[in-house]
Subunit: 141 residues, 4 copies
């Protein structure tokens, strides 16, 4: 799946978040996802909420995975760890750069850096593990 | 702060989530927070989304912390790890039981189990770390 | 497997650590493992090293798992998160209380609290995930 | 501190592990640490033990940090998350590439990829947080 196909998948299966989260680019084992924060993502003080950053990290790695194994695969997140390191720059989009580090028979692992657009220093980092269901495993065999 | 005071804090400072997340009980170093899932928390198949479970875990430990150090403290989440273990029972509230394991000068650490109401087996577990800002540290001194 | 059987397994398969790590007690989905720190576990200042605490947490959940699925299962650790919260009390044994939170077809998840013997406040907490190989999965079916 | 200075620090303050763990290279906010596994790092089947990989990841980020803030700083690990993804290649050294993602007043965060020398795919990834004590914080001010 390329960026357009992932975007169409997002619009169809995640109507609640599409329009906010968009696919910037996709490459083998990689994806860059963009979030344009709106009021409902913000906490007092203008920072982006932790659950929003978590959702962005989760989606970025998930889409990098689906780009390879296809959208019909019902991969589910089994584990996540995340470090919140800096407040995002005010009024900027957030970019999540995800890479898959392992794509195994039953588990996939990826990590992600989230930055405010145009900034070098990361806002957050995360690593997530996905469980790939048996039907898909067979397909991968 | 008792459960009523925490509930009032939630309604005032987190108007976007109050009404969904409610304070069931508070005790020293502990809190139980309830989520009544609505459509916007659900994924296809009826499961509660990962970001929603993350938000519930984060809020439960945060409120256990604020009950002790007070709502004016601007504690921020610095790290979280979470395991998603089972699909929640359909149509049930989720209960997050949080306990603080450390309340230090600059860092607080807690963990949480999330269960569907009436079920013994947990849906998710998480551990989170909060950084406590210097003004509050002075107050704790 | 009871505590004696797990101890015998430890002596046979982990000769490098048996004698240091001992099985205090085992119950369904639970295990308590003891470490009597020696010089090679200590860092300057008398604290127990992070890798030693990691090894203790890993072993405690692993043995709680093997007590149920049997020692021939080649379960491997796939993920771990750990918080180091307090310096251990000097000259005391460390006790790791592990509980299994999930024992699935392909994944098992547990968490653990490590305390200095006789102390209420934990030294560290950890959560670990184990992958259970297919041969064993069949056996569990 | 350059690679030679870090190596000397390692030999003096960590005599138990120096000789096994060596400093390959250091750059601003980065370090590459090498482990030549010996029998005591191995598990049945020839795989390197989890605690050994944890120790390697911890040391790599720690040395990247000390290279900047100096060896007298008593930084301590407060949190670690690690994914074990592949069995190391037999008979090869392991290389841990660490990068600091944040060096704040009280907390430093870094992540690391561990590979068998000459292999592209990682054996493990980890992220660790260190608490920097107040004396050093003053020095950083």
């Amino acid at each position: 799946m390329d960026a357009a196909a992932l975007g169409a998948f997002l619009a169809r299966d995640f109507p609640q978040v599409s329009g906010e989260f968009t696919v910037d680019s996709v490459a083998p084992m990689q994806a860059v996802i963009r979030l344009s924060p709106s009021d409902r993502h913000l906490r007092p003080g203008g920072t982006v909420s932790g659950p929003t950053l978590f959702a962005l990290a989760d989606l970025a790695i998930y889409l990098a995975l689906l780009a390879i194994i296809g959208p019909e695969a019902l991969a589910v997140t089994t584990n996540a760890s995340i470090d919140f390191m800096r407040k995002p720059a005010s009024g900027r989009d957030l970019l999540a750069e995800a890479r898959l580090l392992k794509l195994g028979r039953v588990l996939a692992v990826g990590d992600v850096l989230i930055r405010s657009e145009g900034e070098a220093e990361p806002v957050a980092r995360a690593a997530l593990t996905y469980s790939i269901p048996p039907a898909r495993q067979a397909g991968l065999g």
